[in-house]
Symmetry: none
Subunit: 140 residues, 4 copies
């Protein structure tokens, strides 16, 4: 059998707290989702003014990053026309996200969860997700 290390709900709250702080600093209300290492939703927050359409996108960015152990923008590069993963964006009923803003949460090189952010530009989404991860690493 296998032992798995994953985020607990207090870790998820810290990830979201760090992301919210950055979103407030940028002045862009965001949807923020955290999944465990199995890609299953742990926590979600739609800040006041965050986009309704970004709810599922944030959840699916976290799902993709945790499940595939890869940042979603890496899929963005790999799925361009002519690239090897072209067409992957519509996989899993559209849940496989290739737009930036989803990252695996890594500890000792292993994915212990994922964070996904949506409502801003991809650059803003990525910065906010990274701020969540930084808050987590400061705490751990």
């Amino acid at each position: 059998m296998i032992s798995v290390t994953r985020l607990d709900i207090s870790d998820a709250d810290i990830l979201i707290g760090g992301a919210v702080a950055k979103a407030n600093a940028l002045g862009v209300p965001m949807c923020i989702a955290v999944t465990d290492e199995a890609g299953q939703l742990m926590a979600f927050c739609r800040m006041d003014g965050g986009k309704v359409t970004s709810t599922t996108i944030a959840i699916d960015k976290a799902f993709t990053a945790a499940g595939a152990k890869k940042a979603t923008h890496e899929y963005g590069i790999a799925s361009q026309p002519g690239a090897p993963a072209y067409g992957i964006a519509s996989a899993i009923g559209g849940r496989l996200m290739v737009v930036g803003g989803g990252y695996p949460v890594l500890v000792d090189g292993k994915a212990v969860g994922g964070i996904g952010v949506s409502s801003g530009t991809p650059d803003q989404d990525m910065a906010v997700a990274q701020a969540g991860i930084e808050a987590f690493h400061k705490h751990v």
Copy 2:
């Protein structure tokens, strides 16, 4: 045009906080979801040990209660074999929840959001959801 009053994200956090406290008191880790009055997800928490299968159920209980302005267990009664709403449980792709644990959040008799809880027995889910609503009303 119409003016509508709905929960903000700090209200949602208070609803979830009250529910988590009750779940801890009962010793049953829960999935807890809060939607706005339009049924759109605002916040979600899967406590450590909450059931993965309860994630969607909690979200859909909150959606049903907010959207229909009715507690989900009321649908449970109305949808028994021979009752008028028999068969409603599979509506909206199965999102229409008739199991107890979903309540509209009412202010001055109007729905301003919904809370949905899942992972325990329906009685436990209902008690935890009500504890969330009580915490909200203490605060408001």
Copy 3:
């Protein structure tokens, strides 16, 4: 080849207008949908205060009634435990509605469309849908 007679959009507006008038008389804001005889949506109206959860239900009641050429409450009877159509409520991804409020629109015994109503009790939904059909027949 076959020639098909179906509602046009002005017929659909008359059906919805008759239903809205009855809903106002009852004091129950409703979701009202009209489909053509192929079950495809032609017109939809969510009155102010109509339930968000009733949007899909009204559309699917009209779809079921038009497509099956049968009132949805007839399926309610036929799908009770032990009855021949038991379990049909979850067919077509849950679109097959067995709760009252959906009727085929019949002309000379042939279905030319369907109307579906949701937000009240099944009895209210049925009365409002029938009022729509009566308005249509007065006009034709």
Copy 4:
């Protein structure tokens, strides 16, 4: 709590009326959908000859525009190969529309709803949606 202003059903009818008039002027029958600011469907009209395949597209254009507070053709530009939002078109089970014809309805710079049009070329869809919005602003 938060107070939100949104379209009422008479506003939705004016939006659709303005769009239908323009569609008739162009000689192109259209599917036209209006949602509230939460992206929930309020009203829909498939003009005689409007495409059956455009029903969902019109509804999802309105949903996208209202929920993201952005015109759908803006996503079309941002989601081209190599652009930052490449791949977003298949998000939310394919509901995120990047083809022109969806606009938020703005009052004092805030989204109070959305309109989506489909059945013509994207340019025609956009012109018809804008005509709906113009009719609304003349009235308000």
